[in-house]
Symmetry: C2
Subunit: 205 residues, 2 copies
DNA sequence: GTTTACAAACCAAGCGCTTGCTTGGTATGT
DNA sequence: ACATACCAAGCAAGCGCTTGGTTTGTAAAC
């Protein structure tokens, strides 16, 4: 299963909107705007203009503005959980699995789904408490993939620190890359960046 | 120089507002509200109510709402740069200096100035570009303290990764603690948390 | 192969409310 | 006497969302 096949499977299961459809296009533009300007500073008029419709017409697809934010988050988690799982399944050793997770999350954040991932991390407060609980359930599945790998590494003695703490540190460190990492222009590649994270944790290449 | 003395020196130099004065109290409440609800969701009426005045009266102290945000950020940087410098000066070895920096930043984020530090990190987008440039200049001084210590560690061979990348990773990891770390209730202490960060980088205790 | 039916997608207009900020005036301390 | 700190009232603009009606796509009925 490559990336495109995973995406298509999720679209078929109605877990992710087809980016060619009206709803999918709107969510993509919403993710971009929410990341660039923040949820609060993005108006429904901005969102509508980005897909070329009137602001009122948005509410034919979504009941509220917040529902758009939630949809961006939910679909992003579905997609990235699937991507993360296949990435980790391919690796053979504990260290290789950690590397695969770091590489996959960096790709989520700085690749195609980057806008939506940034929204997921930094616009959390703008969700209602009900929606937060809903999204949190989905996130837990994603997090468990990480925790399993880190716990195994700890048991092997390759990790000195607590798996839960390490995961949280890596969450912050990796998501923060969106504020400074710019792959274009011949700088650090995604693989190079992954190497750096591993080296910071004193895992030699 | 202890923490209180540093604060008093900065107040005397007019770099930080006295928290007992009207302006200082307002900035403290503003930091709390901006962190809890976000800058955009916090109204000038919220800010005024928090210090017990009318919303219009705010504009006697600050010309715009954004100026309040900028003041929170600028004063926080001034204070924490001073705290960081004294922390690093006390340590003797390279590893000890790194530990002192981590410990000091964790204290900034999770201690007294935590609200303001969170605002500094997560409300950046809400600043006008002019203000961003201004605040960035001050941040550069703070960052240089970190980079000097990390570069020395790299030269000693105790650090495998690039100092700039490590600093950015740590910025993300440490600031992210505000979203999950809760010292109260007998969990991890600030020293314990610092140990965990060092252990993640494979520095034994 | 045209007509009819009907839902999905969208527009044009605007309502009610909240927002940041202004204005003109009044206490208060020195 | 004069500046500092505040209040009471409200304005103009922008906000999320609603409403009533029109277009468009699709597919069965004739």
């Amino acid at each position: 299963m490559n990336q495109a096949e995973i995406l298509n499977a999720l679209i078929a299961d109605n877990l992710v909107s087809d980016p060619k459809g009206a709803r999918g296009r709107l969510l993509k533009e919403a993710a971009r705007l929410f990341r660039d300007k923040g949820y609060e500073r993005t108006t429904v008029r901005d969102l509508a203009a980005a897909v070329g419709i009137q602001s009122g017409s948005l509410f034919h697809h979504f009941r509220t503005k917040e529902e758009i934010l939630k949809a961006v988050m939910v679909e992003t988690i579905h997609l990235n959980t699937a991507l993360l799982k296949t990435a980790v399944e391919r690796a053979q050793t504990g260290v290789a699995r950690l590397r695969a997770l770091i590489r996959a999350e960096l790709e989520s954040i700085n690749g195609q789904t980057g806008e939506a991932m940034a929204v997921l991390v930094y616009e959390w407060r703008s969700l209602s408490e009900t929606s937060q609980a809903e999204v949190l359930k989905l996130r837990a599945i994603y997090e468990q993939v990480w925790l399993d790998v880190l716990a195994a590494l700890k048991a092997e003695g390759q990790l000195l620190a607590d798996p839960f703490v390490v995961r949280r540190m890596l969450t912050g460190a990796l998501s923060w890359t969106i504020t400074w990492y710019r792959p274009e222009g011949g700088g650090l590649s995604l693989d190079g960046l992954t190497d750096q994270v591993m080296a910071m944790m004193a895992f030699p290449r």
